[in-house]
């Protein structure tokens, strides 16, 4: 019972007095006090980051000589404040001897909500290390990469390119077909290639510049080439002609078995 009495007395002490005014944080609240003497003003050493700001909105002197002060306050953090902490007499002396001026600042937000009214974190665009640093990095890359690439290309020693083997000459193409024709029956594609190679060979030998159809027509009438080509034609295309023997073919093609390499390119 004794303990309960002590607790009630403590609650009734001025430090835990009921607030004279309430305001939502960030919203201006108003409280009026009366003084017997002296003038009040806000503490000049507080800056805008202070959790409680106060201004003397108006001053009135009553008929009894007491002075009423209308004080406007803004709290940025929820809690119970004593405006004596942010006020001084006009001459700069403390007003600690005055009665407490409790005001309550509360918040409608949840306890886990961010409570800072002013942005205190770094803006997202504020790059780590500084904008200038990254600008320099970008410039170095922009200049450096082309320089490296160009330098590599200039300093690069070309790989030794092995030229592709030259296409086989007419003689090289003709030789195995002529050999085969003397020894065995040629397949249809081989016969076709042999015939056309002989045409191309003679066209080159005689230096015929005209288009191929006209050149072929001339070759068939040529004194040397004509006999060979007409015989081959007869062998390969004329169903009425008797097929030549291997010896006949071998004899016919003998001149083409000993063509020196490169003679027909």
């Amino acid at each position: 019972m004794m303990m309960l009495q002590i607790l009630v007395m403590l609650l009734a002490m001025p430090g835990s007095a009921e607030p004279l005014a309430e305001a939502t944080r960030g919203i201006t609240g108003t409280v009026t006090i009366e003084l017997d003497r002296g003038m009040l003003r806000g503490r000049p050493d507080l800056d805008l980051d202070s959790p409680m700001l106060v201004r003397v909105a108006s001053i009135r002197t009553g008929p009894d000589g007491r002075t009423s002060f209308d004080l406007e306050f803004i709290g940025t953090h929820p809690g119970l404040y004593d405006l004596r902490d942010v006020l001084v007499f006009a001459d700069g002396t403390s007003i600690e001897e005055l009665d407490p001026i409790p005001v309550q600042v509360f918040s409608h937000l949840g306890t886990d909500a961010a409570s800072d009214l002013a942005m205190t974190g770094s803006p997202p665009s504020n790059l780590h290390g500084g904008y200038l640093f990254w600008l320099i990095v970008l410039a170095v890359l922009w200049l450096g990469i082309p320089i490296v690439l160009i330098s590599r290309r200039l300093l690069h020693t070309p790989a030794v390119v092995v030229p592709p083997p030259p296409p086989p000459t007419l003689a090289q193409q003709l030789e195995p077909l002529v050999e085969a024709a003397a020894n065995r029956n040629l397949s249809v594609p081989e016969q076709a290639r042999l015939e056309l190679l002989l045409y191309w060979h003679w066209q080159e030998q005689l230096g015929l510049e005209e288009p191929r159809p006209e050149a072929v027509a001339r070759l068939r009438r040529h004194e040397d080439a004509g006999h060979l080509l007409r015989t081959i034609e007869s062998w390969l295309h004329d169903p009425q002609a008797s097929p030549p023997s291997k010896d006949d073919i071998s004899t016919l093609l003998r001149p083409y078995r000993e063509i020196p390499a490169g003679a027909l390119s």
């Binding site: 076709a192 191929r212 159809p213 390969l236």
Partner: protein, 330 residues
């Protein structure tokens, strides 16, 4: 060579020679074109002639038709031509009150489709359908076209404004495309000289100057039955396996050449073999030889292949690419 085949081969030389002589009485030069027209007639293929105006395309075709006693008609293709202007239409006979068929100019043996690329695709399509199927539909009735039936179409390669280029699928319907060139100076001199010999054509008391068309020899040394017999003989011309390999290989190589975007269809190889047979017949042979397909390759193959954009940008021509392919055949 057996007697019948030898006789047929000899008949080919005679047939071609006589037609050439008849044509030469009216047209100067153009021996290659006459041969191409004969090949088209003998094989039933169709021919596309490309050339500038004024080089006697119409006169030539009409003369060949007259030499074989073929019915000849000509259509000048224009932008406002309608399919019914080509194939015909049903018209109301006011006397009987019923519809009767009015057959269009396509019902002929030899049709000259002048400047085919000037007509709309719908008209081109109607003609090409008739060329392919040898029959046309008028109203609800399908009509067979006469036999023989040959279309010789012309294109002017210079004036392309307001024309409808034949797409590849329709070009493929033509067995051959031949590019006509100007006559030589001697030939042109002869043309002018013959022009001086033309007299007046009297009509009653008036007269008009004769044209080369009036000078066409009316006598027909051959008739349709002679052409049919020649066509039969062409079918007996032998084609060896080696020759077929050459033709098929040529068509195949056009499909893999790096400068060619669209190669030849199998129809190209078929056309090359058929045309070569006819050429062998005309030259008095009963078997085809490489000279035949080499002579015809440009006319049969070039209009069936399309070069790549890169090749065209490099100034490559179809003739150059084809020459490479012919070399690669061996």
């Amino acid at each position: 060579m057996t007697d019948s085949i030898a006789k047929a081969a000899g008949a080919g030389t005679t047939f071609a020679g006589t037609v050439r002589e008849t044509v030469a009485r009216t047209v100067v030069g153009q021996e290659v074109v006459v041969e191409r027209i004969l090949i088209a007639l003998l094989t039933g293929g169709h021919l596309l002639l490309e050339g500038v105006p004024g080089i006697a395309k119409t006169l030539l075709v009409q003369t060949v038709g007259r030499a074989i006693d073929l019915e000849f008609k000509r259509i000048q293709f224009t932008i406002d031509l309608l399919p019914s202007d080509v194939v015909g239409s049903e018209i109301l006979d006011s006397a009987t009150g019923s519809f009767r068929i009015h057959k269009g100019p396509i019902f002929t043996n030899l049709l000259l489709a002048d400047e085919i690329n000037r007509a709309s695709p719908k008209v081109q399509s109607a003609l090409l359908e008739g060329m392919q199927e040898r029959k046309v539909s008028i109203g609800d009735t399908t009509h067979e076209l006469p036999a023989p039936f040959l279309v010789i179409a012309t294109q002017n390669p210079v004036e392309q404004a307001g024309t409808f280029e034949l797409p590849e699928a329709q070009l493929d319907r033509f067995m051959m495309r031949h590019q006509l060139s100007y006559p030589t100076q001697e030939q042109e001199t002869e043309v002018v000289r013959r022009g001086l010999e033309l007299k007046l054509k009297r009509q009653g008391e008036g007269a008009v100057p004769m044209t080369a068309f009036d000078a066409i020899d009316d006598s027909s040394p051959f008739h349709v039955r002679d052409l049919t017999a020649a066509m039969e003989s062409v079918l007996q011309v032998h084609v060896s396996d080696v020759f077929m390999r050459d033709c098929v290989e040529l068509a195949t190589l056009t499909r893999s050449h790096p400068d060619i975007e669209l190669g030849c269809s199998p129809r190209a190889a078929i056309s090359l073999v058929q045309a070569s047979r006819a050429r062998a017949f005309i030259h008095g042979r009963d078997y085809a030889i490489p000279e035949d397909f080499l002579a015809l390759a440009e006319d049969v193959v070039l209009h069936r292949m399309r070069l790549t954009y890169e090749a065209l940008a490099q100034g490559r021509r179809g003739e150059d690419v084809l020459a490479e392919i012919l070399t690669a055949l061996a």
